[in-house]
Symmetry: C2
Subunit: 524 residues, 2 copies
């Protein structure tokens, strides 16, 4: 197989399964010329009803065929029933070779593995969190799995790289014409931002709801003029699982130390200031950081111009304390944030295109001050892995990791130096998800490593250490990344390479459509 | 010139100025296949500023060239300063042959006539209300003037028929990244719906504001990811003229009789009912009808599921009385409606694409119960003219006239039988704006004529007349359209044909892109 070495030192095949792959060359190197792929016209006349009796009927009238591409959004997360219902119906109808382009899959979608084995599903372009990723890693899917960031997925659809035939969009509330939102209904999920690009570009759009209301359903998150059909079902999901799971704040001291160190780094670099902007995340350490950020904002009497992200009650608390002027919500993680989005005009729904698409006319990431992100591994070159575990299995998506790291003035990666017997800081990450060029700092429980390319940061942080502190905030333990690796290896030993076959099962795409890395099938 | 006769009996040239013209064939005959024209990618990196110092600079960095197409929205109506400022700058730079695609022009834009005379502006696709229409009628513009409806303009842009190079979008409030709305600011205009299609499709988008606020400007009516540049100016318009002028309710008895007759027709046809929908307009008679609708809703204890349209305080009053569940606002006509849209979550901004585009997946017009519309003339075939006066001058745009007439279950045209010495009901309208196929009833001060094709309506109205009333509501005076014409002619004499030259100066397009009529140059 002919390969080229990309700008993070990984070998990228020139061609794979008929797909020509461009290697990653740098953060803002690859821009397109020309126009986006247009959406599809409709043919609607007065008296035409969009209401269908069942998902079966929707599949029929949309004209699904073998080999077509279908999509779903993941706002219902691990509480989603819709994707399994649709795929069951597709399987029962005998279709084969369906290409899936969901924004993300969760453990609840484990039943799809059977359909992968039967070649009903032959490729997946989207995050495959948990068991489906594991199945892909074990070589069970015929075609390729392509991983994209939030912004990268929107870019790919707008560029025509993903061409969706039918988008099946779960909607917590909808009207008979297809106006929908996620803020109302017993299975409310808050923002429906992920759905926006699917709805605009898919040839056919089917809204699937368990709360059909009178026209017009407002707020209008999905707009009726983009919707072909509406199906009412008994239940689109399990609200308990939609709004829980990822939102448990860290409590153990090691993680809290990391979160505290991240805050201190923001203070010492001057990024923490009145009017700053901040992207919040939903992992345990990120939540703790958000909480600490909120506490210090309150103490200082500062106010962020906005906080965006995965929104949780911690963000809403900061707003309610008067320390945040606007909340921009791409994904809502709990009941409090969902209710707040419905009732608070300063809490605004945004799309992943708005916040992260690298090929639009300016995404939010490009003006973001600070983001805190997690990782499964980081290496001494400052590359970050969030996709695979150290055994090589692809168990997680990219989310907004690449997007925010590339755009934000201070992209902080937070992780322990090691987890149990696994070195997190290491010579070489198993998979490059986020390139070193975009990573500013790696914050651990044992110290903070600054990317040596960020000479400006290093200069700002002179005199911030415990021994000779000259700057505001708690003293920082700035340390060379190789020392963190050495600490890890001292505890875990030098990590073994994962045992892999030659076959490439997944590709990690950078947000601009170039390729960062390949992921190979694991040995049994 | 080779012509074909279209489905309203008008002769349409097969080709004009290199443009191939399809004749109008029917209301829902002409649908496209394939995809919409896509929008344009951007090239924005962190640190790139969108803020420019002046309109001059915006014209330069956008790369305006002779022959390009530029667009504007008309939410500032006769209070708009932006179009004149931009065109003055373009003229001073020596550009020629600029093609204008504004949603509408108003008397305030009269200075552009000089630029038309100098061939700086050579064609206008958009409503040319007042003096510029008059200049076009007198043959002063080199190229063609094309009139489209609200929905037709969106359709044409989405279909690539109008390809906008630069959209100059006035914004009462905006942030440095281009998020904008019309609800806030000293020149607030409410909805920015007209701007939506320009912003999505134009190659370059320039926001021009006199109220630059901190990021993020919310509500987000124009979204930053579609905006290339932002220019702050001293003043975008004159708020007094933005929110007045068209919103004076009729007071003279003749007009009030027409409005009352329209309401009675809604009652007798059963369209007036609990849960009905209604599109309100801004002309004096339409406002009176809206007021009467509101009064009867209140009396009956009914509630509309929605009222859309040109929103005025009369609509807001109906909502506040509890007789309207949602307001869908494509255009805001007064301060009360602007403030209500900002503060009332049930008062929602919509776009002309959403409400009127015939080629989307279902526009609001297709489910609308009733609309009341004005006219300059109507003929015995039920064709309606709103574009030209009886002397042949093109002085008005189409607005949503064609769109709502085609879609609504009951499209009511309201007009006096004659105005001074001019017969309004006549054998043949000077110009066909809205085809007879979409017109259900012509309501005058001297009786109501029902389109004979609407046998269902005629049946419903049996027994509704004064002499033998069997249905609810005040008795109706149902009368043959030819009788109304006779009454007009008895007063005014048979109208003379306008004196016209051969040259076609304007084209009236139907919302689906086919052509309804031509408008010829008037003799001096």
């Amino acid at each position: 197989m002919q390969t080229v070495t990309n700008a993070v030192g990984r070998e990228i095949p020139v061609e794979l399964n008929g797909l020509k792959l461009k290697p990653f060359t740098g953060l803002f190197d690859n821009f397109p010329t020309g126009r986006k792929a247009g959406g599809h016209f409709g043919r609607h006349r007065p008296g035409d009803s969009k209401l269908l009796d069942s998902i079966d009927e929707a599949i029929e009238v949309c004209g699904l065929k073998d080999g077509m591409t279908i999509s779903f959004h993941h706002h219902l997360r691990n509480g989603d029933y819709v994707m399994n219902m649709v795929m069951k119906s597709i399987a029962e109808k005998g279709f084969k070779d369906i290409k899936m382009a969901p924004s993300a899959l969760f453990p609840v979608h484990e039943p799809l593995i059977d359909l992968i084995d039967q070649e009903i599903i032959t490729s997946i372009e989207g995050s495959a969190n948990g068991p489906i990723g594991d199945a892909i890693s074990h070589g069970r899917m015929k075609g390729l799995h392509i991983l994209r960031s939030h912004g990268g997925r929107v870019r790919a659809i707008e560029a025509g790289e993903i061409d969706i035939d039918i988008a099946f969009m779960a909607a917590p509330t909808a009207d008979p014409e297809g106006n929908s939102n996620g803020m109302i209904g017993r299975n409310a999920c808050g923002s429906l931002g992920y759905a926006a690009v699917d709805v605009i570009h898919a040839k056919k759009v089917v809204i699937i709801t368990d709360n059909l209301v009178e026209y017009p359903c407002t707020p209008i998150s999905i707009s009726a003029d983009y919707v072909d059909y509406v199906v009412e079902v008994d239940c689109i999901g399990d609200n308990e699982k939609i709004v829980s799971g990822t939102t448990m704040i860290a409590t153990d001291p090691q993680k809290l130390t990391i979160a505290r160190n991240a805050l201190d780094l923001m203070v010492h670099t001057g990024i923490f200031r009145d009017g700053m902007s901040f992207q919040a995340g939903a992992g345990g350490i990120s939540l703790a950081t958000t909480k600490y950020v909120g506490e210090l904002l309150k103490e200082k009497g500062y106010s962020t111009c906005f906080i965006d992200g995965g929104v949780t009650q911690h963000v809403v608390d900061i707003y309610n304390n008067g320390n945040c002027r606007k909340i921009l919500d791409g994904q809502s993680f709990d009941v409090i944030s969902i209710q707040d989005m419905l009732n608070n005009p300063d809490h605004v729904e945004i799309t992943p295109g708005y916040y992260a698409n690298p090929w639009n006319k300016g995404c939010l990431c490009n003006i973001l001050d600070a983001v805190v992100l997690g990782a499964t591994e980081a290496d001494v070159d400052f590359n970050i892995n969030v996709n695979t575990h150290s055994d090589g299995r692809v168990l997680h998506g990219i989310g907004g990791h690449q997007d925010t790291a590339a755009g934000a003035k201070l992209a902080i990666m937070m992780m322990p130096v090691f987890r149990k017997t696994n070195a997190i800081i290491r010579d070489r990450v198993t998979t490059v998800t986020t390139p070193f060029q975009s990573v500013d700092a790696i914050v651990t429980d044992m110290g903070i490593a600054i990317n040596p390319a960020r000479k400006d940061l290093l200069k700002k942080l002179e005199g911030s250490s415990a021994s000779g502190q000259e700057t505001e905030g708690s003293p920082l333990n700035i340390i060379d990344i190789t020392e963190l690796r050495d600490m890890a290896y001292a505890e875990t030993g030098t990590p073994a390479e994962p045992e892999l076959k030659d076959r490439i099962v997944s590709l990690v795409q950078f947000r601009d459509g170039t390729y960062l890395d390949t992921i190979r099938q694991v040995k049994e």
